[in-house]
């Protein structure tokens, strides 16, 4: 299903999606984030600071609550997410591809009921990048495209005054169907314009990982390379790179206690981060990844080697967030290039 939407009618489309809670990028204190739609939506954002991964994988998820009277068995109450279906507008293609990767992780081996419930309730309306939205974009290097539709339900392309709206999935079609005649049939010129724009978009200069295909093997060969410590020399061990990453999925599980007699609390999942020292630290103090170098290697190899070995795709979508926001200039493009070049 391919349609045309007048830019001015975007709000009308959102308004008729009454079965859905709609989200769109909005700026607050100079931070772009997906927020519940309130008022006019203008999809002129660069990219959101955080990817939309939190829709299906929120930073905090309550698994269940427990209550235990002393001497009795605990009572557990499962807390599966509930609520209206949700749709996010303005999702960039790199983040769409991020969703594909998250889906793989949370369905691998066994289904994660919390992720699945949220994910099944979620639709992503994408927006093609006619131009790179950041100087650190490199989606093309990792098999993506600024106009790609992986992981999206709908892909919109900004034609100037109008959006070209293409359904990608059945959910996407459903969303478009609700719009009724707000969505018009595209003209030939529209299609041509789309084609031109898409061609221009993929021709835009981007940063580049030179040998992403060769990366898994080369990284594997470079496990013991001294380059890792060297490249991580400036790393301060914060969580920006992973917390802003559209594909990082690591988490921690903790009990949050709210009462002691009777014992009350929740078992909670929170995002965790492979760059934090205690991520792998044993209680004994032994740490399989004791240095910033080892932890940088884990992050990079996870994305460009381990994930590839397990799922046949890179776990990086080239959004460039980890590069732009790294406080000390650690640059995954540079790191991968450097290590792979060094591996020959």
């Amino acid at each position: 299903m391919e349609k045309i939407l007048d830019k001015q009618r975007l709000d009308d489309w959102i308004a008729v999606l009454t079965d859905w809670d709609a989200f769109a990028p909005a700026v607050e204190d100079d931070v772009w984030a997906f927020r519940p739609v309130a008022g006019a939506v203008r999809l002129d954002h660069p990219n959101t600071k955080q990817p939309p991964k939190g829709f299906a994988f929120p930073q905090r998820e309550v698994f269940f609550t427990f209550e235990q009277i002393k001497g009795e068995a605990p009572r557990l109450t499962q807390k599966l997410p509930q609520g209206k279906r949700r749709v996010a507008f303005g999702v960039r293609p790199c983040d769409g591809r991020g969703t594909v990767r998250m889906d793989r992780v949370f369905a691998d081996h066994v289904d994660d009921p919390y992720y699945q419930t949220r994910r099944n309730n979620m639709a992503y309306v994408g927006l093609a990048c006619n131009k790179p939205v950041s100087s650190n974009c490199f989606c093309l290097s990792v098999g993506g495209s600024p106009v790609g539709s992986d992981g999206l339900d709908v892909l919109m392309t900004d034609l100037g005054e109008r959006y070209f709206v293409a359904a990608v999935t059945e959910t996407g079609k459903a969303l478009m169907t609700v719009a009724g005649d707000l969505l018009k049939k595209p003209e030939v010129a529209d299609r041509q314009r789309l084609k031109d724009l898409h061609a221009e978009a993929v021709a835009q200069p981007q940063r580049a990982i030179h040998d992403a295909d060769g990366a898994p093997a080369k990284l594997k060969a470079s496990f013991k390379s001294p380059l890792w410590e060297e490249l991580a020399q400036a790393c301060i061990g914060c969580g920006i790179c992973t917390f802003l990453c559209p594909t990082c999925h690591c988490f921690d599980i903790n009990d949050e206690v709210t009462g002691a007699a009777p014992l009350k609390g929740s078992r909670v999942r929170t995002w965790d981060n492979c760059q934090f020292p205690d991520f792998t630290m044993h209680t004994s103090g032994h740490n399989p990844r004791p240095s910033v170098g080892a932890r940088l290697r884990q992050r990079v190899c996870h994305k460009f080697q381990y994930f590839f070995e397990n799922f046949g795709m890179h776990q990086c979508t080239g959004c460039g967030r980890c590069i732009s926001d790294c406080p000390v200039g650690i640059d995954i493009v540079h790191v991968v290039n450097k290590v792979t070049e060094h591996a020959g």
């Binding site: 607050e28 204190d29 100079d30 931070v31 984030a33 600071k49 955080q50 930073q59 905090r60 100087s135 650190n136 020399q233 400036a234 301060i236 061990g237 914060c238 969580g239 920006i240 917390f243 802003l244 921690d252 903790n254 949050e256 909670v268 929170t270 995002w271 965790d272 981060n273 934090f276 020292p277 205690d278 991520f279 630290m281 209680t283 004994s284 103090g285 590069i323 732009s324 926001d325 406080p327 000390v328 200039g329 640059d331 493009v333 540079h334």
Partner: protein, 343 residues
């Protein structure tokens, strides 16, 4: 204007003469024109060093990292380590020495004056350049010289500088072994605590509305803490992401680490984290502003730290980073400390 070659020469000489074991400085990074921190040990590398308006980082952090690495390796070096320090960085080094984190003779401070400049803010520059890509940016007097593909542009320094630099009164590293550039101590491009003053003029309701938004946005990536040279604790009391285990660490201690806050990045926990951090930085924060710069979600953390700095100065006559020998703010008192708030 600082001649970067003089810095390179100094670094090279120190390494060549074997006076220091390494030099912590800046080099050109891989993303655009931005500088990045580097530690060089080979005199040959000295020519990589740069000095420009993107030398944001407070390199004192890497002195801390160096100490940690040495402690971990149980090594006592015979040579000092050299560091390139701006005015604020040098104050941080003073605080670290005040807290005995290392001794004066273990550091060789290559001070570089910010003179009329400081560091730039990327978004301010981008706005002024209207989409042109800057290739380099160096302060010259009260101007920023920017090169773009189209040529050289000169912009008023004050329009691209970070707030912390505008409000800086000590752009010259007082504590140094060698210093480059003019001592412009006392320079005041903006009144101190301008941003804080503006904020404090708000009503309590507005202040809360503001902070509520900020604290709800925090994702607890800990970049503010990780980038701070004063946050050198081996384990953060308020939200630990590591724990030091010594031979005498008991199972009891490991089992019963207090969880003042939960890992959930929700408002209540975030606010407790940030307030505790501000308290722990009271009298120690030297306003390098790095926490605010690195925050990915733009929480104006300087306000919190500035508030403590202002109170320390006005109520207790205390200037963080002013002297190596003095007592710490919260470990000392004066008879005439304010007490009117006590009933």
């Amino acid at each position: 204007m600082i001649d970067v070659q003089s810095i390179r020469d100094a670094a090279r000489d120190l390494l060549t003469r074997g006076e220091v074991r390494a030099v912590i400085g800046y080099r050109r990074g891989s993303r655009g024109m931005l500088a990045e921190p580097v530690t060089i040990t080979d005199p040959e590398q000295a020519d990589e060093l740069v000095w420009d308006a993107t030398c944001f980082h407070n390199l004192a952090l890497y002195l801390v990292e160096d100490r940690k690495a040495l402690a971990h390796a149980q090594r006592t070096p015979t040579l000092p380590i050299a560091i390139i320090a701006k005015g604020c960085d040098a104050r941080a080094i003073v605080v670290l020495m005040q807290e005995h984190y290392f001794k004066r003779d273990e550091v060789y401070i290559i001070g570089v004056s910010c003179e009329g400049g400081g560091v730039l803010v990327e978004y301010k520059l981008a706005r002024l350049l209207n989409g042109a890509q800057a290739l380099s940016a160096v302060f010259d007097g009260d101007e920023l010289v920017v090169t773009t593909a189209a040529g050289e542009v000169r912009l008023p320094a004050s329009e691209v500088m970070a707030d912390r630099c505008l409000e800086c009164r000590e752009p010259f590293p007082k504590e140094h072994n060698v210093a480059f550039g003019e001592d412009k101590t006392g320079r005041q491009l903006a009144a101190p605590f301008t941003a804080l003053g503006r904020f404090e003029a708000l009503s309590a309701v507005d202040r809360w509305a503001f902070w509520r938004r900020q604290f709800e946005r925090c994702i607890r990536c800990f970049a503010c803490r990780s980038v701070c040279p004063m946050c050198y604790c081996d384990e953060c009391v308020v939200d630990s992401i590591t724990f030091p285990v010594a031979p005498d660490t008991t199972a009891e201690e490991k089992a019963n680490r207090i969880r003042w806050i939960e890992r959930s990045a929700v408002r209540s926990e975030n606010i407790t984290y940030h307030m505790t951090r501000a308290m722990h930085l009271a009298g120690r924060c030297i306003d390098c502003g790095e926490c605010e710069r690195v925050c990915p979600v733009n929480i104006p953390l300087r306000l919190l730290n500035n508030k403590m700095e202002l109170e320390a100065r006005e109520r207790f006559g205390y200037e963080p980073g002013a002297s190596i020998g003095g007592p710490s703010l919260v470990a000392s008192f004066r008879d005439d400390d304010p007490g009117q708030f006590i009933r």
